[in-house]
């Protein structure tokens, strides 16, 4: 039951080059950081490790994105799931199952279910909420995170915003403007999930955190880890690439 973390995933799926800028206005900091992640096209190769107290499971995948509304993920390993793909266009989502050659559209009743068995739900990927628009921002501290000086900003959900979090605390690097750590709080001000990122490297033409982990607060020994092995940015890719036909045609 992990609720929406889409902007966390955006951090993963659409990283951008560092922008050396340090504005004191917290909203501006968040906006810039967010802007940085909303790039044009991206391609990355990832490994997702689902870690449970009794077992772990590893999946490899390739991901393409264009803007913030189009994304396509192809599973390359393990063999059993190889060729499975997941397409998102705006607020709709489909999965392609090569074994049975069928496309499944994700119905609203399935939004709450886990995405590929991870700590992310389908809804995390679809949700349109925006860390800039749906929250008000307050700078609470400046402190180092993972060796980088960071702004610590509390984003408090606006009353009518369609987001479940009541507060999100972000650590935004002053150097790279990457969102390095995010804590998600419920209305009782209890921590529900934490997103940590590590190992900032330059890939393609920009810096990005190549390891990130999502840790649910109330499930000890459980987390989902995503490692980025390769990434490319700013290449031409047509909108037609993000289609059901293309999803079926993808093989490695």
């Amino acid at each position: 039951m992990t609720p929406r973390l889409r902007f966390a995933l955006l951090a993963l799926l659409a990283p951008l080059a560092p922008l050396a800028l340090a504005a004191p206005d917290p909203t501006e900091i968040v906006r810039q950081s967010d802007q940085q992640m909303r790039g044009d096209a991206s391609y990355s190769e990832l490994t997702m490790n689902i870690i449970r107290p009794e077992w772990t499971r590893s999946m490899s995948m390739k991901s393409w994105t264009k803007g913030q509304d189009l994304s396509l993920v192809l599973v390359t390993a393990p063999a059993r799931d190889r060729g499975s793909a997941s397409l998102r266009r705006d607020r709709e989502m489909w999965n392609w199952l090569p074994d049975i050659e069928r496309v499944i559209k994700i119905a609203p009743s399935m939004l709450g279910q886990s995405w590929m068995g991870s700590d992310f739900t389908n809804d995390d990927l679809i949700n349109q909420s925006s860390i800039v628009v749906d929250y008000t921002h307050h700078l609470v501290a400046q402190e180092p995170y993972d060796g980088e000086m960071s702004y610590v900003i509390d984003a408090v959900a606006k009353p009518e915003a369609p987001v479940v979090w009541s507060k999100v605390r972000l650590w935004i690097s002053q150097q790279t403007h990457l969102q390095r750590k995010i804590e998600f709080y419920d209305e009782f001000d209890e921590l529900v999930n934490t997103l940590n990122t590590f190992d900032v490297q330059t890939m393609g033409d920009r810096a990005l955190a190549t390891r990130m982990e999502m840790v649910p607060a109330d499930k000890p020994g459980q987390k989902t880890e995503i490692l980025t092995h390769a990434a490319q940015f700013n290449f031409a890719i047509s909108e037609a690439f993000f289609s059901l036909d293309q999803m079926k045609r993808l093989r490695d």
Partner: protein, 415 residues
């Protein structure tokens, strides 16, 4: 005529000659009757409570939907020409109230959890007059026109999603274009109905909020409540249904509660059988009890009847006398017993019977934990007839036995 009146008077006097014996017998009859009345009332009260509850909470007496919606609940399939229907409903004297509902299947999410749910968009003023929902609010208040996007969730949902009054939830569903629509709602109230199933799968928002989010107008469901709430008055329901069918667009379907919940109708049937068996056992127990005391009482008085015959009373008159005495006893006992039973039912009808500890099971059952026994006039009549018949039957055998004996022998009979 005069002779038989005389005999009846004699029988009546005989009865009160031995006050103690008669009192004991009356006591036995009265106690038995009160037991049977209580039993019938208990069983009927429990089941009718369940059925009335199901009608009040879940089905109402009538529901109207688009036929396509019934086959397959698609948010596009709203009622056809609902205005015609509501116009007619407004003029029918049998109709107490109706509620137009906009329904969406979707997901409710908090920071803690999410689950699939049926989102009921209701007009606050209409809904309270059709279902008892406003009385089932355990915290907060019922929906009104105040504020933006209020929502009512069940106690169960509130616990699962860790919600309290004022909490924000996000509702997600498929809108008219087939896209996923979502919005934030604030918990205005928390309800708990007698049905655990209903509570797990339903929440309430305002009709206009939900319809606007979905980008549609109209309703998916109209639920109709009639003034006549007794579930046995099914003819009234059918009459209103026929009137509605005459004006409604043929693309709509009007269903009565027996069609909506066929299982409920079957339960009525089963209730009849099991009631009949139980009441049968009771009536037999009571009947045999009366027969037994009667037998004893008549046999003990063999000598007395022997004397009567010896002083020249005709045999058939003695026979009639015995029967009449017995009948008097049956009538008196029956009347007193029914009176006592009726009084008890009135009392329990006022206080109710509480089954508090069984609350959870009753909830799944769709019944309140407090219910009221009910006994119909025809049931009272049946009990009365049974008592009198049993007492007559009880007198027949000893009366014949006594008459067979020569008076001398009867007189000589020892105790």
């Amino acid at each position: 005529m005069a002779a038989s009146t005389q005999l009846a008077t004699l029988a009546w006097r005989n009865l009160w000659r031995n006050k103690l014996r008669t009192s004991i017998m009356l006591g036995a009859v009265v106690f038995g009757l009160v037991g049977v009345v209580a039993m019938i009332g208990f069983v009927a009260g429990l089941y009718s409570n369940m059925i009335q509850n199901a009608i009040a909470w879940q089905t109402s007496q009538l529901q109207i939907h688009n036929r396509h919606y019934l086959e397959n609940p698609d948010i596009q399939d709203t009622l056809l020409q609902p205005k015609v229907i509501t116009d007619l409903l407004a003029t029918l004297p049998e109709v107490a109230a109706w509620s137009e509902r906009f329904i969406a299947e979707g997901m409710v999410a908090s920071a803690r959890a999410n689950r699939g749910i049926r989102i009921n968009g209701v007009v606050p003023d209409q809904e309270v007059r059709v279902t008892p929902i406003a009385g089932a609010i355990v915290e907060g208040a019922w929906l009104d026109d105040q504020g933006r996007n209020p929502v009512l969730v069940s106690k169960k949902t509130a616990e699962r999603l860790k919600l309290r009054l004022g909490s924000k939830i996000v509702l997600t569903f498929t809108d008219a274009q087939g896209d996923v629509a979502g919005a934030a709602f604030r918990v205005r109230g928390i309800f708990r109905t007698p049905s655990t199933n209903f509570d797990e799968g339903n929440l309430f928002v305002r009709h206009k909020d939900l319809a606007a989010l979905a980008g549609l107008s109209g309703s998916h469901e109209i639920a109709v409540r009639l003034h006549e709430e007794d579930y046995r008055a099914f003819d009234t329901v059918l009459a209103v249904k026929t009137r509605l069918q005459a004006v409604s667009d043929p693309g709509n379907r009007i269903r009565d509660w027996q069609q909506i919940q066929p299982l409920l109708a079957s339960i009525l049937g089963q209730m009849g059988v099991s009631n009949a068996i139980i009441i049968g056992i009771y009536v037999v127990a009571m009947g045999f009890g009366i027969v037994n005391i009667m037998l004893m009482s008549v046999f003990e008085r063999t000598r007395e009847f022997g004397v009567l015959m010896a002083v020249g009373m005709q045999k058939h008159r003695v026979f009639t006398l015995i029967l009449l005495e017995s009948a008097w006893l049956g009538v008196c006992g029956g009347l007193l017993g029914l009176l006592a039973g009726y009084a008890l039912m009135q009392l329990l009808g006022y206080t109710g019977i509480a089954l508090g500890t069984m609350a959870e099971g009753l909830g799944a059952f769709g019944a309140d934990t407090l219910f009221y026994p009910r006994v119909t006039a025809s049931e009272y009549a049946l009990i009365f007839v049974t008592v009198v018949a049993a007492s007559l039957l009880a007198a027949l055998y000893p009366a014949r036995q006594i008459l067979r004996k020569p008076p001398a022998e009867a007189m000589a009979e020892k105790h």
